[in-house]
């Protein structure tokens, strides 16, 4: 079994454990590659999450971009969606978000955006990787270097966009408790409280640089730790939890029930499909089949793509924006056309609250309106050499279902499916099994047994 990796350089950028995997040298070279890749034009917008290592990385990114002759606008500690919003507002040539989102504190990552704050396409990301590996960067002469300026009010401008999209007057009345996971969402929510009269009750609200109260993952299990038990005692209408850079969100009902992270996308699909022209829902092969059922209610259609943000981005580029209702995954990361297809947990939360307002019923009742799906997930560390044979065997043995081999193996039956795939970030195989109704325990165990043979 291979050791867990502490550095990954791929189409989605650069990600690793700072020090042992991700070093200053990687940061400088990758940022210089980005500075070389970008067409000159507007400034490059950068922001970071609160990890200590973010300052080191910010300094390296700034140095490399300035050296390539790019002007830099530093937003400081902000959420990733705020960076993306600022790129568009400032007419930026691109942007860099420094932050490891849902990973533990010792991790950090760099994500790169193009003009308009969009994610890079696979082709663009491939070119960036090629420049990085070639190591030949286009540095400006000493009198053509970029300039750096700080922009402290990016958050306020982002709030203005949220205000234009949602009826703040209607939402303000809700009593909502939020677990900020010591991340940047608290900066946004505090300001909504101070400047827009919201009454969010915040926990794990200090923005932390070294120690998080819990791993900032948006799973039902994390919601159950601290957030869910508080909802009822506080008499709240809902509980929300964000990852460190608030591009993902998780949910608890007014009864204090943690809601499966799989439910965020179906909920938002149910809300958004009847409201706009878009009838497509783009999601990955590991996400709940409830999405198909909800989409069908509204005459919508689900497009299934491989797991990972990059596949969703590439799928989005195949359609006109007005054809798409939303895109997302079962982790609580959702992109909406109103926000130019940027994963934005805060916007997702406001959409769920708007739905709650419109339906005039508690969240638990809204959720009870959907058929029950039971999903089981596990991961097994494996010898990667045995993976192709494993997948072929499974395909042969489960050949009575619909076979999809876009990303590992997914097999569908009318009320049941499984997905066996290889993680992009670790040498593990993930097994996901879902069934309408009761948990598909037998199938799950059978599959795990098969996968463990190559462990």
């Amino acid at each position: 079994m291979a050791a867990p990796r502490s550095l990954r350089i791929s189409h989605v950028g650069l990600r690793g454990v700072v020090g042992s995997g991700l070093t200053a040298s990687h940061v400088l070279d990758f940022a210089a590659a980005f500075g070389t890749f970008l067409e000159s034009g507007g400034p490059v917008v950068i922001g970071r999450d609160p990890r200590s290592s973010g300052v080191m990385i910010r300094e390296g990114v700034a140095a490399a971009l300035l050296a390539c002759g790019q002007d830099v606008v530093d937003l400081g500690v902000v959420s990733t969606p705020v960076v993306q919003h600022a790129i568009r507002r400032l007419g930026g040539a691109g942007g860099v978000s420094i932050g490891a989102s849902h990973n533990a504190a010792e991790w950090n990552a760099l994500r790169f955006f193009g003009p308009e704050g969009t994610y890079l396409s696979t082709a663009q990301a491939g070119e960036l990787l090629d420049i990085y590996h070639l190591g030949k960067f286009r540095f400006a002469p000493h009198d053509g270097l970029g300039k750096l300026r700080a922009e402290p009010d990016a958050l306020d401008r982002y709030l203005e966009e949220l205000e234009a999209a949602y009826d703040f007057d209607a939402l303000r009345s809700f009593r909502v408790v939020v677990d900020c996971s010591n991340g940047t969402s608290s900066l946004i929510l505090r300001r909504l409280n101070q400047r827009r009269g919201f009454g969010f009750i915040l926990i794990n609200e200090p923005v932390a640089s070294v120690r998080f109260a819990h791993e900032p993952t948006t799973s039902a299990a994390t919601v159950a730790l601290q957030l869910a038990p508080l909802v009822r005692p506080l008499g709240a209408d809902a509980g929300f939890l964000f990852d460190a850079d608030s591009d993902r969100v998780a949910l608890a009902t007014e009864c204090g029930e943690p809601v499966s992270e799989e439910m965020i996308l179906p909920l938002l699909a149910d809300y958004l499909l009847p409201r706009g022209s878009g009838k497509l829902v783009i999601t990955n092969l590991s996400t709940t089949a409830l999405v198909e059922e909800v989409a069908a209610r509204h005459g919508g259609r689900v497009v299934r793509v491989p797991v990972g943000r990059q596949a969703a981005i590439d799928a989005l580029s195949c359609y006109r924006p007005e054809q798409v209702a939303l895109a997302g995954e079962g982790t609580g990361a959702v992109m909406m056309p109103r926000f130019r297809f940027v994963y934005d947990g805060i916007a997702s939360m406001l959409a769920i609250l708007s739905m709650r307002k419109e339906r005039g019923r508690p969240l638990s009742e809204i959720l009870a309106g959907y058929p029950r799906y039971s999903i089981l997930k596990a991961q097994v560390a494996v010898h990667t050499s045995g993976i192709p044979a494993l997948l072929m065997e499974l395909q042969r043995d489960y050949g009575d279902g619909d076979i999809n081999t876009l990303d590992g193996l997914r097999v569908d039956w009318p009320d049941r499916w499984f997905h066996v795939r290889v993680s992009q970030t670790e040498p593990v195989v993930r097994v996901i099994v879902e069934q309408r109704g009761e948990p598909p325990a037998a199938l799950f165990e059978a599959l795990l047994e098969r996968v463990r043979r190559i462990a």
Partner: protein
């Protein structure tokens, strides 16, 4: 000849910004430095070159990655940064400056916890560490903070300088002083120092740190025409010209004539030894006028290879009271700090004028007169060795010093050939008591080329 626009060695890292001195190189060198000095506070400052901001980010990145806590002092003269390091008990410091080199160059000057250059052995260790790339890589919880303290460094430095002179006496003279700060790191501090601390009537040019250097960075006589004109036009008693990082000084006398740098150093040595007697250290290429001045005080002169670090290392080892390098315009007064410091030089010269009531021109005219001639030759491999050999054969029996190229010294004249530390050049200097002797000596050497 190949062009070498990057140099990494025991003097640190220096090069032309762009394709040669890259942010990755600067960050790696800073990370090596941070690994070498250990976790703790490290001070970072810079001069006003356009590449300073970019390199400052790169250096901070490397230091933070090594687990250091970074204190940025912003645009400051190099001596100010050095004093600040010592004063605040930091682990070390980095000045981002190529000193007197042209604006397209930049470099890192590295200081230990006393704000001093590392000795040559330490510098060797640091370069080895850089080449091994065996850096400390701090994990998230080990990464120190980044803070700014731009406000206090200047006053700490000039306070130490003022303690070494009779500032009241200088203020009472209300000298009219001209200044050319080359829009460098000293621009703001020099104005405050001369106008407020020393009570001078200041006539300043090139004191906007946001503008490019208006003249070549090194304050040589032939590029200081504007300062000379300013001295004459405003009837200034003295004119000062700094380099971009405020460690070197050139001086114009009241006639507008720019003093020979060796004579400037001699006047400062005279001023320092008048206040306190002790040993003097200068480099091999510095004029014999220093020996005459020291002798008049009954003091000894030590000579070292060229380079501030060499002079400082010797001064520290023998506890010298004053030192410097003639051609570079560098004055080192350990009572302020063991570093080249234009502020110390300005203060000592004004103090001497105030004490004697004599003009700077009169003081210079009283110095024994030497004539120097210098040539620089493009460096080609194999050129220096045969020249040194030919010189030794031609002048057999003359006292020879081989610690930095070759210096041949008679009681009243000398020849020095050496390779530049910073540029691909061979430098040739001769000195004699009479002009025709100097010309003759130069001709004899050139005949050997």
């Amino acid at each position: 000849m190949r062009e070498h626009l990057l140099k990494i060695g025991v003097s640190g890292i220096r090069g032309v910004v762009g394709d040669f001195l890259t942010p990755a190189l600067a960050a790696a060198f800073a990370q090596a430095f941070g690994t070498y000095v250990g976790r703790g506070r490290v001070v970072v400052g810079r001069d006003t070159r356009p590449s300073g901001e970019m390199l400052e980010h790169a250096v901070c990145c490397g230091l933070l990655a090594a687990g250091c806590e970074v204190v940025r002092v912003g645009v400051q003269p190099t001596p100010t940064i050095q004093v600040y390091v010592a004063h605040t008990g930091a682990r070390g410091g980095i000045a981002i400056t190529a000193s007197h080199n042209p604006p397209e160059y930049n470099a890192l000057k590295l200081f230990n916890s006393s704000g001093l250059f590392f000795n040559q052995y330490e510098r060797g260790e640091l370069v080895d560490l850089y080449h091994e790339s065996d850096f400390r890589h701090a994990a998230n919880e080990e990464i120190g903070g980044l803070s700014d303290d731009a406000g206090s460094a200047g006053a700490i430095h000039t306070g130490r300088v003022l303690a070494q002179v009779d500032a009241d006496r200088i203020r009472a003279c209300r000298f009219r002083v001209a200044l050319d700060a080359v829009n460098g790191a000293g621009s703001l501090l020099s104005c405050r120092f001369l106008r407020h601390d020393l009570g001078c009537e200041l006539e300043a040019i090139a004191v906007d740190p946001s503008l490019p250097f208006p003249r070549p960075a090194e304050p040589r006589a032939e590029v200081l025409g504007e300062l000379s004109a300013l001295v004459l036009a405003r009837g200034a008693a003295i004119g000062f010209a700094q380099d971009p990082d405020g460690d070197r000084l050139a001086v114009a006398e009241e006639t507008g004539r720019v003093l020979d740098n060796d004579d400037m150093l001699a006047l400062v040595v005279d001023a320092a030894l008048t206040r306190r007697r002790g040993d003097v250290v200068v480099n091999l290429t510095t004029s014999s006028v220093i020996d005459d001045v020291a002798r008049s005080h009954g003091c000894r002169v030590w000579r070292t290879p060229v380079g501030e670090a060499n002079v400082v290392e010797r001064m520290q080892a023998i506890d010298a009271v004053i030192g410097g390098e003639g051609s570079g315009g560098g004055v080192i007064l350990p009572a302020v700090h063991l570093c080249r410091d234009s502020y110390t030089a300005m203060a000592l010269l004004l103090d001497r004028m105030a004490a004697t009531g004599l003009s700077i021109g009169t003081l210079a005219a009283r110095l024994p007169r030497y004539h120097r001639r210098s040539r620089q030759l493009a460096f080609e491999h194999g050129r220096l060795g045969p020249l040194m050999q030919a010189l030794e054969e031609r002048f057999a029996g003359v006292a020879a010093d081989r610690s930095d190229g070759l210096k041949l010294a008679w009681p009243d004249r000398w020849i020095h050939v050496r390779a530049s530390n910073t540029e691909p050049l061979v430098r040739l200097t001769v000195e004699a008591r009479a002009e025709d002797e100097a010309e003759g000596l130069l001709a004899q050497v050139e005949a050997l080329l």
